[in-house]
């Protein structure tokens, strides 16, 4: 049984539908990244999924913001989506990823502010 089929609570279904509606607004490469993220975060176990909602929501928010910025998807997620998802869920390698995100943040700020000045 897939995760999707295990969700029976109607409130959860409603929330997932809202997520899907948001995902439909994304450009194609972002949409396919969303599919991969879903697939990966639910590999995390056997549960109702309620705890994963905020994680999925934040990930979707990230995709929305990044696509609005016109950022290439690889720049946002890196090339290893499963590892990225493990980090989102606080699994193995989360700490390393957080360091990477930190560096990425400061690098992006420096680059974009530099462009602004020049």
């Amino acid at each position: 049984m897939t995760f999707w089929e295990t969700i029976t609570g109607s409130d959860l279904t409603r929330e997932w539908k809202a997520f899907e509606a948001r995902a439909q607004q994304l450009p194609a490469e972002y949409r396919s990244a969303w599919e991969q993220i879903k697939g990966n975060i639910f590999a995390y176990g056997d549960f109702t999924g309620r705890n994963l909602m905020p994680i999925a929501d934040a990930a979707l928010g990230l995709l929305e913001e990044a696509s609005a910025d016109g950022q290439p998807i690889q720049e946002v997620l890196g090339d290893d989506i499963p590892a990225f998802c493990a980090a989102l869920a606080g699994g193995e390698g989360a700490r390393t990823y957080r360091d990477r995100w930190r560096e990425q943040l400061n690098r992006n700020v420096a680059r974009k502010l530099g462009r602004l000045g020049g």
């Binding site: 609570g9 995390y44 109702t48 928010g61 974009k112």
Partner: protein, 108 residues
């Protein structure tokens, strides 16, 4: 639910985005990069607190005082973000705790 509903519905989220857009370019750049970082790290204050609108409040005050954004928050933007959420739990923490608190799945 949802971070965007949290800021009480779509209308409020749009108002929030409009406030961000009204900031000077350097502030906008930093705000957007911070938001992306925070979405990844996932502090529960994103949905349970007013973290994002509060940051904009703070930035608006900085603009009014005539400071550049890095003068306001310092050059290490990531360190500033980490200070903002220091001592708070992340969604990942909550998720991980749900296993230790509840060994075995709890099907309703």
């Amino acid at each position: 639910m949802g971070i965007q509903d949290v800021i009480e519905g779509k209308k409020q989220w749009r108002a929030h985005v409009a406030r961000v857009k009204a900031l000077p370019p350097d502030y906008q750049i930093v705000y957007k990069e911070m938001q992306k970082y925070l979405f990844k790290v996932g502090p529960i204050d994103l949905s349970e607190g007013r973290l994002l609108p509060d940051i904009v409040d703070f930035f608006e005050e900085g603009v009014a005082s005539g400071k550049g954004v890095l003068q306001l928050i310092g050059p290490d933007v990531a360190a500033f973000c980490d200070d903002l959420i220091k001592g708070t739990r992340t969604y990942a923490d909550v998720y991980q705790e749900s296993f230790t608190a509840n060994p075995g799945p709890t099907e309703k």
